[in-house]
């Protein structure tokens, strides 16, 4: 399949360094302490944050800091092939556990957990529709939900993916590009202000000389996402201020 047309356009009509359309909205769920909806192209994620609260499991308590829990849930109708609903697959699905763990490890250095000793911060992520780039969308949604919950953090966490198609570095891969065997792709999460990298995942082969370009492109993508997220947070806060003052 032709992933990049001779004119340099991708399968969904984007340019190589163009993000998919992003819609994000904090404070969408009433029951959660913080929540956010994040849509990146056709990938849709809902995040809810509960906490800091009393840990549900006594054994998972730390006396000097908050424990972070991440649950990642994939709706059965989210992808083009329905996930089989056997017990083994659903609760022992290693891929899902792996994603949850990597998201947890991404947020552990950013959340100032020492201000909430003996408590738990639970992040629930729900993938409603999957069109590639689940991890990045989940991380972005979780950041907005954590900010909405008022959890102390040192910075935003913005994630983006990038890959390489036919000698061209491309930003923000969709499902078709991601599932093609020849396309190497990496996911990166950064703190935009200090530009520190929190997560870098790549599970395919990439020529070492091309790594630099791909990283730079992913980082630029993170910067763009940061602006959008910051705007969403500011708009939401202003909206709240207006509601309280009027």
């Amino acid at each position: 399949m032709e992933l990049l047309s001779p004119e340099g356009l991708r399968i969904d009509g984007r340019r190589a360094n163009e993000l998919r359309r992003i819609t994000c909205k904090p404070s969408v769920l009433k029951n959660a302490d913080g929540s956010a909806y994040f849509e990146q192209g056709n990938t849709k994620v809902l995040a809810a944050v509960y906490g800091p609260r009393q840990p549900q499991l006594k054994s998972q308590t730390a006396h000097d800091r908050a424990v972070i829990r991440v649950e990642f849930n994939v709706a059965p109708f989210s992808s083009s092939e329905r996930k089989k609903r056997s017990r083994f697959e659903k609760y022992g699905n290693l891929r899902i556990l792996e994603i949850a763990t990597s998201i947890k490890q991404t947020f552990e250095p950013v959340i100032i957990s020492t201000v909430y000793p003996r408590s738990e911060i639970a992040i629930y992520l729900h993938l409603l529709q999957d069109d590639g780039g689940n991890i990045q969308t989940c991380i972005n949604a979780a950041t907005l939900a954590l900010i909405d919950a008022g959890i102390a953090m040192t910075d935003y966490v913005c994630a983006c993916s990038a890959g390489y198609i036919d000698e061209t570095p491309v930003l923000d891969l969709n499902h078709i590009e991601e599932s093609s065997y020849e396309t190497p792709d990496l996911t990166m999460a950064v703190m935009p202000r200090s530009e520190k990298i929190l997560l870098l995942q790549m599970e395919s082969r990439l020529q070492i000389g091309r790594l630099e370009d791909t990283l730079a492109l992913a980082k630029a993508g993170c910067g763009q996402i940061h602006e959008l997220m910051d705007k969403a947070v500011r708009d939401n806060t202003l909206d709240l201020v207006h509601k309280y003052t009027n």
């Binding site: 009433k30 029951n31 549900q56 649950e71 709706a75 109708f77 729900h126 999957d130």
Partner: protein, 285 residues
Amino acid sequence: MAPDIKPVVLSAAAFEKIAPEEFYKRFVQNNVRPDGRSLERFRPTSLQINSVTTANGSAVVRLGNTMVVCGIKAEVAEPRADAPNLGYIVPNVELAPICSPQFKAGPPGELSQAIGHQLNRILDLGKVLKLDQLCIEEHQAVWCLYADVTCLTYEGNILDAALLALMAALTHMRLPQATLNEDTGVVTTSLTDDSTPLVIDRPVYAATFAMFPDQVLLADPTDTEEAIAEALVSVVLDDQGRQCCIWTHGTQPQDYTRCTERLLTLAQQRTTTLQSLVTANAPQS
């Protein structure tokens, strides 16, 4: 001089926590509920069709603060030997911890299993649609519709919301065209514009009521109302107002029949509203 004893003044929130029954009684005496609704009023209900494009049909239902998504995926399956031309519909309800702190992560809890089973019974007993329209080739291949209802925020009355989402998704879903290759036994599917929607013979909708002492009926109870109600009654009616199922949990008041009449009238009105909501919300093309 006697010590100055001040009466204890409780905030409304503290009063609700300490004595929820008494708190509700005070409200009900004034014919109003803590969320501002009158006793027999349902929460504002809205519907969005086919917003999940990876599913064959989907619906998002908001019932006040209860929000559910129903997504239907169609898969090719083998029919049962005793019913060679009938397809399957498998409803399933998921109450993940995202929707309320009261639900734990892990295998499905009692409530979600019970509601899933109820939906199954409604589809089966209510003769909602004929399963032979899901047949691709007799004895060989039929459609299996997996209807997964996921709750996003939970504030009580999950049955009404789940059934409405299921009905809306079924009404507006489209099955791909499927043909069985006799030689290879492989089913090929294609989604074209002229693929026919399902024929729903008997759309059914639920209306749930909470019964309180002195024959007080609260329509569309929230989770706090469900917890302190004496009994919960769920009435499932079709679009003509004919009864399909009635479930009651808890203790019945003594003159139950008088209540039932009122309850059925309210349920009939509710069904008409929901039916027009589903038909008015044609999918965004």
